[in-house]
Subunit: 470 residues, 4 copies
């Protein structure tokens, strides 16, 4: 699938002279999780500096920016917004001052009780400058500062509901935490004496950081000069692992390990399983770039049909691309993703796509394949049909816009103009990962939401509310 | 004087279809009061939109920006910061949401109890994102929202101490207010059925707005669809007019009326009085551009010495000007302000300057005059010696950097390398304005501060505190 | 007058280690002669480097640009185009290579035989990349390179017709030249052992450069390491000084000496003469900024009517200013140039303007004066009526757009809505400068063109031709 | 190989209402051939408009730019410079005016007699503004304009030596031509009634353009409203096809057909042949992105070793990427191209690379593979060793910087730190394309240069000359 539905990436380093530079490089590795804004905050032990901006990491930071931030502890953030509008005020990390001094917060995910908490705070006289969940978190933190709590950060986390990963930078510590469901990945690494936390491990390999372990559901980690201190901030009954299976299917980079598995290996397994569930006679297997590649390798291995390259993706087409003015949609699609005519002409093709959401873009690609002379097109999707919205951070459209919602595979194939379609089954999908099936969230396939959603809530209500907020 | 010491400008319109465009044009007229950032907020009666940015009005707004803001009520702000660092987060108007909905605040001046109020709020669990006094005001507003107050805005204003003018835009009203001392100007105007509020009246003439009257010390004005409602928000005993005399001497545009007088007429009077207090034999009177012109007209009139043009100012030299690398300070000054050799060569010159602060820039100009062949240089300053810091918004340096602090006129003349210097007396200065002498603040000359300053306060303490805040 | 009709500025330095920096600073002093593009070329004795760009000097050059150019000889150019369209390819200096090596040319003025020379070159097989006269000059230079000429540069200059000043930088020399009429100013200065050439002398004072003398009509100056060599490149009969009187009236900076006179002194004389030719009863004399100031000083001196400030010009309004959308022309004018109501209300005003071209902008100002309460308005123009187009570089409109063309002063006053108008006479104008009347070009007043114009020529023909050229 | 060695791309359309938009989209498809500058020129039948700029197609053109160019005939160009410095003046198409009117020229390749022609022209009095071969071509064109030639364009082409493709746009025609060796590809297509010419055919598929045929060596094509007219502009003896084999190995997009073959199919064949020439025992085949993919498909097919994904390339790292300051080269490489640890750890790996030039970047990748745990590394290169410079447009370094120059495969493997290396043989390479071996240029492998190079020439002499030219 190529619809944008990424979200945020977090990266933090504590105790390294080049902490800011490591965060900067780490954010490049996480750029696929957010291209809307980027930011870094760092501390010298008493004050906090930060630099944030709209756009890609490469465009937001200059060398002087990095030099001005240079410190031994830093956190960074790349953002793709699912809630909150697109303004620099919403860029993270958010830095505020409260009674205990300055603090920076970077956050990935959606709070399902954000609206309730906002109302509560406003009723008590608080003000909000952004439409960002992060601002709710810092209000909570400031609200308990005067109380004599063993761990005020843990206390605050226990108040949050929803799916999130979190980095907090205070002058004396770096805090990393996951929600009790751990929908989003977050991993701990080690770089010499320093600790590193990252949304994905792909950043570890490239920076010579040793992968240590995942942050656990409901875990809060205090990293200070004294070392690491871990605890569970919520009642053990609340801990119920529900890892987002879409991290494996689409979001995470294939060179990452998330929820204990290699993403690439999982996807290759999905491809193998897909070949078992939906075999077909064909001449060649091709992937839709870039996310279909790993599954295509698996499908080819299992089916013994040769793998080849069917699509060429151009990386030069950016946001400023001027769409053709005439009714020539095909050209517009193919400027970005051209067909390899030599491979498909006169052939029976198995096309591997990671998922199908609205179906409109997929249809464009299938039409281009057909126009290039494909004799038969067999679409194999390395995930089950997406039929339900996601309330935890994925920007799926509403149910009635989802192609798989209320349609049979045959109807979908007809809509796409292809010879057959095969979706992976939910059990088949879950057989490709190593943790127990109950430890994954499959709500977008099954409608069974592991994290409670307030009656008045839902992303759409939320968004509507916020748009009229200011 | 050419040292930067401007501060902010406010402009608001309520009840006009082109409110936003009028505010945009009005901000051009107030640009001399702040070049650091500019912003406009507008309301359609339920939500508030805003657009702010760093830099000049002409660079911050595009036509689409203005069109997106188009509404019947709007406030605008240009800012030169005396406190708070230079970041877009500090740009105004500040827009927040609290329990009563959205609100935009634009503010000119310094609160002397800002630190105390911040500490109080932080102790109660509030968070601060900026180093800006405006944020204190919105916290106060949110804090009383749940109480059943006749006029919560008035209640909030009564809590503030210091020198300020204020515009608040709520969905249903525009509020304008002055502190009980009214250190800064704020005037009311009328444009058809609409009301207009502006820091200075120069904007009125150019926009065909009728000048109605000044906002009074301690006055709060509610402008709604129902019309105008005025009241005094503090105890009458607290009202003690203390208008900043430097508005007349330097800050305000000569085409404005402030505190009841024409600025140009006051400056011309200052020049006449200066000729009476410090007559001299000379061939020609010249002004240092641009603020010395009005006083020079007066000096020439009273002394009967011909007025001529001694300096030419270039308006093409901007912030990106690359200073000469060699030790050639004179060139650097003269690229901006060249001498008219023909006028000064071999002549006895009276030079009119509005004020002398550090003296270093003035010395550069005097050296250039001498190099161009001036035979005698008699500096006449249309204000008394500045010897004390300003805690109400003017960016004077500390006392020991003020040239007049602890030096006799003779010593200052020697430092500047000129033949004589004459400062206006304080009573002479006050004889040029039409309100009673006790109604003006002359603290920078006399050290008598009309607005109490907290023991731990002072701008310098404040600034130090804030710089280390984040 | 405020219509744009500036043209180019030239500045060159030979033999100074900071030649490039001096040229950079010099271009600031000449910025009023052209704001469209700026450029500098420098030589190390064998190659030539250059940097040009669209916009103001301050925006075109960065410090690294200047450092990359650093050399002992350099020429610079600021451009306001009267012919040739507005593209970076037309920016100067133009640098080309021909058989004798590289050469840079910067040029101020219009060649009246440019079209003929172009046709001639094209017929011989030459190509043109720009619509710029400068390209004609370099073709001429290349065309004679193989001939054994005593001074090929002089030979080329003798082929040119029209009004121009010229700087040529070759690896071994800096050449400065004026046309035989010397319509445009060009002066020689000395900075230590180095020689400097500048369109105006205002740059000399600010850079501690000693004014040596003017470059003479028909003179070519070779500046090399061996020193200065001067000659007349054309037959003495062709030398006929015809200095543009508008340099004194409007173009040049008042702090310059051009054609042997101080510009400010000439303007003050024009004002005095104007008071003699057109006395009036009035309360106050005011100037239209910025060019009316010098003449206003003279008018006030001669008439004994007090001088005051009637208009305030804002320097913050730039090219990106968004014009009011409604029919509110007055506001648009006054945002840039506001009236000082205090000075004009109820008064009889003498307004000094340097010239009136179309009359539309002047009318806007007169209406604003009237709206501000002026009782009587007496416009005094410190030049004769402009009735004829200029073919030598000033961007006047065609005759039928000139307000003074075919109208009596009374009709003009009625059009402008004022009580009286007084133009200076031609003899009166010429009595204010020190060279013989026959040495000045007054074609725009009298229609007597000193420099022949080809039958098929005229700026309008030229421009039309060029617009369709590519 | 990832060293930059692309060159230019050409695209032209004649006779289509959306010609300019088609050229714009076509340039996206050719962007891999040049990222330094982009430009489009179009004609309305009498004048020529153009827009060029530095950078990527997406950044150079705005919608208004395209609308301003809208015409029925247009040519476009993307440029990667091998000669001429990087300045906007060198951007193409170059538009000039000569005696026959305006003309636009876009050019791909290097003229080997450019220096001689320049000298010849300069001796005759011509001037040059750029260091670009294109300027030589337009001088030739202008030089013969007055002669009565049957086809002046053909006459000019016959004077050129070297490797080039060419598009010329005159008001009445589009001319396309190839040098007699046809080192670079150029193809003809049809879009309705309009004709299209493109450097590569990949642009045809995506724009629904029918591939017609290649432009032949020594062919000149006149496309006018009257249709197509083809001729050979040189003596038949000079026609000697010498197609650049590197177009197949590396330059062209795999979805193009060049010199009669599908690039992807040729590369797959190269991979198969490589498996035959250099078989090995291994666990997995991986490609170095992006150019190694096609050959890896072939190697895997032939060797029956499974194909997998070994490297992940990030497309977010741009020119403004800030290199790590510490000695951490590995990180810098891996930010762009990370290893898939899961695939390589403990495995015997066959790595497919299209070519190895300097070897330094390849070594970085091999080190990263080893660090990720690869047990054995067998590098297979789908081309012969590059041992000689290219004088026809490829930016190879000098011989002594080429890793394969004077080193045995064993020595190279040692340098790279790998277990074995296998290069394809020259005959093996030529067995993968369908034209006779003698029809390809393999000079960089064999040192046999098909196109004569002047004694004083060579790219390096040329470049040196040009750098000191201005």
């Amino acid at each position: 699938m190529t619809e944008k539905r990424e979200y945020c990436g977090l990266f933090g380093v504590f105790g390294h002279p080049d902490a800011v530079e490591r965060v900067y490089l780490g954010l490049f590795a996480l750029q696929h999780r957010g291209q809307e804004s980027a930011g870094i905050a760092s501390t010298d032990g008493s004050t906090i500096k930060h630099h944030v901006g709209m756009g890609l990491v490469r465009d937001v930071f200059t060398r002087p920016d990095l030099e001005a931030l240079r410190n031994r502890a830093a956190i960074g953030h790349v953002r793709y917004s699912t809630t909150g509008s697109s303004r620099v005020e919403n860029a993270q990390p958010m830095v505020v001052r409260y009674s205990r001094g300055p603090v920076a917060v970077a956050h990935n995910g959606n709070l399902t009780n954000a609206r309730l908490l906002r109302d509560e705070f406003e009723a008590r006289g608080s003000i909000f400058r952004t439409t960002n969940d992060t601002e709710v978190i810092v209000h909570l933190l400031a609200g308990v500062a005067s109380q004599n709590l063993a761990d005020p950060y843990a206390y605050v986390l226990d108040r949050l509901e929803g799916a999130y990963s979190l980095l907090i930078l205070a002058p004396d510590r770096l805090i990393a935490a996951c929600d009790p469901y751990k929908l989003r990945p977050l991993s701990l690494g080690r770089l010499g004496d320093a600790y590193v936390v990252s949304s994905e491990t792909c950043a570890f390999d490239m920076l010579n950081i040793t992968r240590v372990r995942d942050i656990e559901p409901g875990e809060i980690l205090h990293i200070t000069e004294a070392g690491l201190r871990s605890s569970t901030y919520c009642h053990p009954d609340r801990v119920r692992p529900s890892h987002c299976i879409f991290e494996h299917i689409y979001f995470s980079r294939p060179d990452s390990y998330v929820f204990g598995d290699s993403v690439h290996a999982v996807r290759r397994n999905l491809g193998r399983q897909l070949a078992r569930e939906h075999p077909t006679e064909a001449d060649v297997v091709v992937a839709i770039p870039d996310t279909g590649h790993s599954a295509a390798v698996g499908y080819a291995l299992e089916s013994n049909i040769p793998l080849d390259i069917g699509f060429i993706r151009s990386h030069y087409v950016g946001r400023t691309f001027i769409q053709p003015s005439q009714a020539d949609r095909a050209s517009s699609v193919q400027v970005k993703l051209n067909i390899m005519r030599e491979v498909v002409e006169g052939k029976r093709i198995v096309v591997i796509e990671d998922s199908v959401v609205r179906g409109t873009t997929t249809r464009g690609k299938m039409e281009a394949l057909r126009a290039a002379g494909a004799r038969e097109i067999h679409l194999r999707v390395s995930s089950p049909p997406v039929r339900h919205p996601c309330f935890y951070g994925i920007d799926f459209p509403t149910s009635n816009e989802l192609i798989a919602s209320g349609r049979t595979p045959k109807e979908i194939a007809d809509f796409l103009g292809i010879d057959s379609i095969g979706y992976l089954s939910v059990p088949g999908t879950l057989s490709c990962v190593s943790r127990p099936p109950s430890h994954y969230c499959t709500a977008c396939f099954t409608g069974r939401y592991p994290v409670p959603i307030g009656a008045h809530m839902g992303k759409y209500a939320m968004e509507r509310h916020q748009l009229s907020m200011f």
